[in-house]
Amino acid sequence: MSGRATSERDITLVELLDRVVDNGVVLAGDITISVADIDLIYLGLRLVIRSPVITPAEDRPRTDESSEDAHDFILRVRDSAGEH
């Protein structure tokens, strides 16, 4: 496999959310997540429309945001999309 798509186009947060949060094996019926009343897929599509560009390295999700609320995250991503 070439991996060309990953290196050239990278992975957007939107596509990530769409797959990781809304797809995959559902082993049990008790998954509970908080998305603060925001439709992730709708938001995701809006971001794609406004910001199809590759997420710059400095804007990529950090891994130390365990205390960050999903709502804050979504607002932050939305704001950054508006800059493009």
Partner: protein, 245 residues
């Protein structure tokens, strides 16, 4: 009693790298039922789990790393099982489907394509690109305006369906399974996921580039290769999914 957050399912004979961490402080481990293994981390939080970028990214990185070692089924974000017994029971209950999915999806990856209108409508034949401006205030003008809007919407739908057909027929030879949705939003004529065997990746990407070139005013976005998130069986999803708060 310890709860477990589940990242993925894989064959039990594949070892989990010792240096592999998710978003939990403990290294990942596998809990097995016969020849199936759930890749897990002990989970002690009792609060609702929010899909922060850090957590979502780490979840994905775990699944991606595991997919480089062998067949893997991504488990949906937020899956927490109460204890070891509950997890074993879940593996046992879904064993047949899990086995079938591991076999079907082994060595295959997912690509995502999102198509945006860009300047395509304005540049195609002009008939669908411009919104209808009000022509006057009387009833006839109003009805004509509504008729014009309806005809424009129909034309846009037809164009979206034709793009869908073209994308499907072009990529069908280089993808094993395709999921497409046309016009899920007015501004997104097409979204799709494609299951592609690893050895077909180059051909798939080449065909995508050709397609993109042919539809140049359209904006076509390709992501991947991803682990096959969108192609696990729907048998699992007969269960209620997220309780979104």
């Amino acid at each position: 009693m310890t709860s477990y957050y589940v990242y993925a399912i894989q064959p039990a004979n594949i070892e989990v790298p010792r240096d592999l961490y998710g978003f939990h402080p403990d290294a990942l481990a596998k809990l097995c039922w016969r020849d199936l293994a759930a890749v897990v981390a002990p989970h002690f939080e009792t609060d609702t789990l929010a899909p922060t970028p850090g957590r979502v990214q780490r979840h994905h990185e775990v699944v991606k790393r595991l997919s480089e070692l062998g067949p893997v089924l991504p488990v949906r974000f937020g899956t927490i099982l109460a204890d070891c017994g509950t997890l074993s029971e879940a593996l046992k209950r879904h064993a047949e489907t899990l086995h079938a999915d591991l076999e079907r999806l082994a060595g295959k990856y997912e690509y995502g394509i999102t198509v945006l209108w860009g300047d395509y409508l304005a540049g195609s034949d002009g008939s669908a690109g411009e919104p209808i401006e009000p022509q006057g205030e009387n009833g006839r003008a109003y009805m004509l305006q509504r008729l014009g809007e309806y005809q424009r919407e129909q034309r846009i739908k037809e164009i979206a369906e034709s793009i869908k057909s073209e994308v499907e027929s072009s990529l069908e030879p280089v993808a094993e399974e395709i999921k497409l949705q046309a016009m899920m939003r007015d501004d997104v004529p097409l979204r799709g996921s494609f299951l592609v065997p690893a050895e077909w990746s180059d051909a798939f990407e080449t065909e995508f580039e050709r397609l993109h070139e042919n539809y140049k005013p359209l904006r076509m976005l390709l992501t991947g290769p991803w682990p096959p998130y969108s192609f696990v069986s729907e048998d699992y999803t007969s269960l209620p999914a997220h309780k979104v708060r």
